[in-house]
Symmetry: C2
Subunit: 271 residues, 2 copies
């Protein structure tokens, strides 16, 4: 008997009617309050990918996290805003008890061979196999669902402010735990799998959370198949932290150096 991977259980949706879907968060991807934003992102993407009208594969997703997604049932409503030969635009809303928890805009696109070029390079990095996984002492359930191996910029939260501010730059190998072959849903979740940059800059845990998360999917379905269960290299950074908000950029490379996704998010922090 094959056991369903906790990620697939978490993002599973049941069709109701007219682009309406229901699901249940479960507990496997729990965060401080509510579910991990990456899991919410994958649920939203799943509602579009499961639709009979969907075109090609995901190109872009912006998720706005309006309130924590509490453990339990939720409803998703999709709206196909406009479709064409090359791209398709969707808006998606996620509710709990009739209150909006998250919204998303999703672009699907038809891919075929064109000019291809990758200016960004992975650079020198220690292979995942030569780095110990992060010993998981973090009391957040979702962090147990990933294997993190920090090549550069492991966040060290000492509980007291850093004497000297840390760098927001991180290079980290990330894979699902237990292993699961990569697809657009897990890529959408891993795009939010970087710890908040403020943590490693200051060295202290503060009330903070992602407000809006944008991911551009640059990989073809074939490239995701090739990647399989091997670890992705994630590179994260921040440009500026000011007056409650900071940005956080990211790149996700396949093991062979192919860029699979890039993106940015804006984080709110209290003080």
């Amino acid at each position: 008997m094959t056991q369903t991977h906790p990620f697939d259980e978490t993002v599973a949706l049941t069709a109701q009617s007219d682009g309406r879907w229901t699901g249940d968060t479960g507990t496997a991807y729990g965060n401080f309050v509510g579910a991990f934003g990456g899991a919410v992102s994958a649920m939203l993407l799943n509602s579009v990918m499961k639709d009979d009208r969907t075109l090609g594969s995901p190109v872009s997703q912006t998720v706005n996290l309006c309130a924590p997604l509490a453990q339990g049932g939720f409803t998703i409503q999709t709206k196909l805003q406009r479709g064409g030969k090359y791209t398709q635009h969707w808006n998606v809303e996620l509710f709990q008890n009739d209150a909006i928890i998250a919204t998303a805009s999703i672009v699907m696109g038809n891919r075929s061979e064109t000019f291809s070029h990758q200016p960004a390079q992975m650079g020198d990095v220690t292979p995942a196999s030569k780095i110990d996984p992060l010993p998981n002492t973090i009391p957040l359930e979702w962090t147990n669902r990933y294997d993190f191996r920090f090549a550069e910029g492991m966040p060290i939260v000492s509980g007291k402010p850093n004497a000297e501010l840390g760098s927001p730059h991180t290079k980290v190998w990330i894979s699902d735990n237990p292993p699961r072959p990569l697809d657009y849903l897990s890529l959408s979740a891993i795009a939010d799998g970087f710890f908040v940059r403020l943590l490693q800059v200051r060295g202290t845990m503060e009330p903070m959370g992602t407000v809006s998360l944008t991911t551009h999917f640059l990989a073809t379905p074939e490239e995701l198949n090739t990647q399989g269960t091997a670890p992705l290299l994630g590179v994260a950074d921040s440009n500026r932290m000011h007056n409650h908000f900071h940005d956080q950029t990211m790149q996700l490379f396949g093991t062979d150096g192919t860029i699979l996704a890039t993106g940015t998010q804006v984080v709110w922090y209290r003080q």
Copy 2:
């Protein structure tokens, strides 16, 4: 008699009812087909900023450009999805003849003094005053509305493919033409004021266009006032171009080196 700046004319909206607004594109920001995406972005943001219910100042905006905005009248419908003490989430739709042209999600936020840190630096760059403005031979009306001074990576479109692929990296001073004091609306537009990276990599003009544009506003209103009409330094780059889609990242610095906005867009190209 003071003349209204063409930007203000272009993004002007007339209140109808229930978050419904109307406007007219005019001709000052015309692009290949329809209006410049940056102008569309500013129209959408204006519909939220003009609303009596709006909170604080803009934090994040994602604009999905579904179809060209033809010259003439248009309608905008806003929806306040969720509001809190710190942030407010909006969805916005722009129509022409009942067809969706663009959608946006916009996050507004209350700003006040907190921990502040800017890891990203402007680096060495020739001042705008020492660079000649781009001689405008581009047959796109919107490009006449900006003063572009390229410090690095001026796109050269020769009409034949580059013998060696160009770098997608650009540093360019950008300001409104004629000058106009910076505000969030013009910042939203300038965020889309970078030429498509594919152009300078290949050296040829191809059918291409922005599909989704995300901007994170990191500046306070006071910082925008300080900037006034001085040129912004824009830095743009791309990570990967593959199978019809490429990403395009950007940073916008004030003249004094303060990061005012960062963002990313995904571009569709035909071949």
